[in-house]
């Protein structure tokens, strides 16, 4: 054969392989409202940037007539490409090939592209759309999952790992996404669960739809397994591209700087956002937008534990991880879910050299038997752990109330914040004035001729004396009491001078966080 003929032969082989499961299976995929694996990769990556590897990989299974079955690419597409010019490794399970089921070679392909990502120190993005283990391959299929989980764990904190759930992801398969940093889901397309509705029906006699059990909304609002919720695959890919612009390629790098931009100060007027009465709600995201470059804020886990707000923005072009109590929802209390949510985000930022800005306005921890029994002690400890452990620049702004244990937990001076600023509206105290007065002056109030009047007088006295930032400032726990309008200026300066911050943790193999 001439070179020309050999090239033609290659083209023919490639043509056959990229058909995936063939026209009929693709038709089914489209009927389910889903894009094909190849379409997904192409719409996620920059045009013409996708380079595919292992197209000709085939399985070697023999049992159950598998030797007679040809599965193109063994049901997964792997390769490299760029997103807005940033390099990434990517894989997408192809549901049209044997339901995207995971066999040994399928898993080896994923493992190989993950190894590339680790060596090249670039993010890995995995698109999941799979019926689960390829039962015909038996224990080899389990081995495949295990090898992926091991790589996920090794890569954790070294390169960013992104999972995209665009179809079923059930049983053991869910644990790869669970080990990664960010999980994207799409309404009515994503389905994640350990045991499906059928098993639940037959074993427990309980009826539940797939959507109610493990749909995109459930994982975005209730379980917290998902970080980004989208209405369509297209919207989902736009969000991934945005996320990639905020994070560095690896733990050895900083996120790429962007051109500096002032906030939209007409739209977000920092002086007019918060009510001075600490009992009144407001949207803390407006405060973030009033200080961030171009008033941009890319929220993570928007629908989960909304009493805590986390997400990315920029200050003078540099990516910042914002963590803020949200008085709009549950008064911004710390609870099991919000602590867990914030702690994980703080650890991501710390691992990937992203400075942390914390905005504080909370009454404390959520009271309740359900919280105590759900382990608010252990989960609440996560936030203390992650802030204390973080060595990236940490700047805290206390907007209004910062009471009790909540004050300590929200990146206080005592957890080694680099700078703690407070607005004049700040109230840093051991608890709210009402509660404090009721305890301290209990006997006086009880024995008074008019207890209610005495109580109110004592509350007012306490407020006057302690509900301000100056008691904490007098002890040096606050570095500066600042006007709200000066917040951005102080943040920019603090981050500018913290650029070479060098803080070493004691030598250890690893800590033991209260998982």
């Amino acid at each position: 054969m001439s070179i020309k003929q050999k090239t033609l032969d290659l083209k023919q082989r490639m043509q056959n392989a990229i058909q995936g499961g063939g026209a009929k299976a693709i038709e089914k995929q489209v009927a389910m409202g889903k894009m094909t694996a190849r379409e997904r990769i192409l719409s996620l990556l920059d045009p013409n940037s996708f380079h595919e590897y292992d197209l000709f990989v085939e399985h070697a299974a023999k049992d159950f007539d598998m030797d007679k079955k040809h599965l193109p690419g063994d049901g997964v597409i792997t390769g490299t490409g760029t997103i807005n010019g940033f390099p990434v490794c990517v894989y997408a399970q192809d549901f049209t090939v044997a339901g995207g089921s995971l066999g040994l070679m399928h898993a080896r392909k994923i493992g190989k592209i993950m190894d590339h990502a680790m060596k090249l120190k670039i993010p890995i993005i995995g698109i999941n759309d799979s019926g689960g283990a390829r039962i015909q391959e038996g224990v080899n299929s389990l081995a495949g999952y295990g090898e992926i989980f091991y790589r996920n764990t090794q890569a954790s904190g070294v390169i960013p790992q992104i999972s995209v759930i665009l179809g079923p992801c059930a049983g053991g398969a869910v644990y790869s996404p669970a080990l990664t940093d960010f999980v994207f889901v799409v309404d009515k397309i994503s389905k994640m669960f350990i045991t499906g509705p059928e098993v639940i029906r037959s074993v427990l006699g309980e009826e539940i739809t797939m959507e109610e059990l493990g749909g995109a909304r459930v994982h975005s609002e209730i379980t917290g397994n998902a970080h980004f919720f989208s209405e369509s695959e297209e919207e989902c890919f736009q969000k991934i591209k945005k996320l990639v612009s905020f994070i560095p390629w690896s733990n050895k790098k900083k996120a790429a700087p962007f051109p500096k931009k002032a906030p939209k100060s007409k739209q977000f007027r920092i002086d007019n956002i918060i009510p001075t009465d600490p009992r009144e709600p407001y949207d803390v995201r407006d405060v973030i937008r009033s200080v961030s470059d171009d008033s941009e804020f890319f929220e993570v886990q928007e629908l989960y534990a909304a009493n805590m707000v986390i997400g990315f923005g920029r200050l003078n072009g540099e990516t910042i991880g914002f963590v803020a109590n949200q008085p709009l929802i549950l008064a911004g209390v710390l609870d099991v879910d919000s602590s867990d949510k914030a702690a994980r985000f703080i650890r991501f930022c710390d691992a990937f050299n992203i400075p942390l800005v914390t905005l504080v306005d909370l009454p404390g921890y959520l009271p309740g038997i359900d919280q105590e029994h759900a382990g608010v002690i252990r989960h609440g400890a996560k936030i203390l752990y992650s802030y204390s452990e973080a060595t990236v620049p940490k700047v805290t702004v206390i907007l209004r109330k910062a009471y009790g244990g909540g004050y300590i937990a929200m990146c206080s001076r005592h957890l080694k914040a680099d700078f703690v600023f407070a607005w004049p509206t700040a109230e840093i105290a051991v608890m709210g004035p009402e509660g404090a007065a009721n305890i301290i002056f209990r006997h006086e109030i009880m024995n008074a001729s008019n207890p209610e009047e005495t109580r109110q007088r004592k509350v007012d006295e306490y407020k006057q004396k302690f509900a301000n930032p100056y008691v904490a400032a007098a002890h040096g726990y606050i570095d500066a009491v600042i006007e709200p309008a000066e917040t951005r200026k102080f943040l920019l300066h603090a981050l500018e001078i913290a650029v070479d911050k060098d803080e070493k943790s004691p030598e250890k193999k690893h800590g033991i966080p209260p998982f």
Binding site: P281, A305, I329, A331, D370
Partner: protein
């Protein structure tokens, strides 16, 4: 800015340390269940499963540790024992029943 979907929720007053805060509840807060204290006289299923055998009848005397029923769950036969001496007040199950977690199986007097 993103709009929040779903039904419009109403503000609640959340009490933390004697201060009442005006705020919105989240979904989990709205769905939380009231606590019911454990009643030692009621034997409940510790996990979901199906009732393979019932050994006792209403009015029967049992001793602590007597076998009450077999709850088959996760391919295991679990023999459910009486927590204390007593008389069977009520049997809420029959053989073949599928029960959820925390289902009241048998009540003692």
């Amino acid at each position: 800015m993103k709009k929040r979907k779903g039904k419009k929720t109403e503000n609640i007053l959340l009490n933390v340390d004697d201060v009442e805060y005006t705020t919105l509840p989240n979904k989990k807060y709205q769905q939380r269940k009231p606590y019911t204290p454990l009643n030692p006289k009621v034997v409940t299923s510790f996990m979901p499963g199906n009732i393979q055998k019932v050994f006792v009848k209403k009015g029967q005397k049992v001793k602590e540790g007597s076998e009450l029923c077999i709850l088959e769950a996760m391919k295991m036969k679990n023999i459910i024992l009486a927590p204390e001496d007593g008389v069977i007040k009520r049997v809420n199950i029959k053989e073949g029943d599928i029960v959820a977690k925390h289902h009241a199986l048998i009540e003692l007097q």
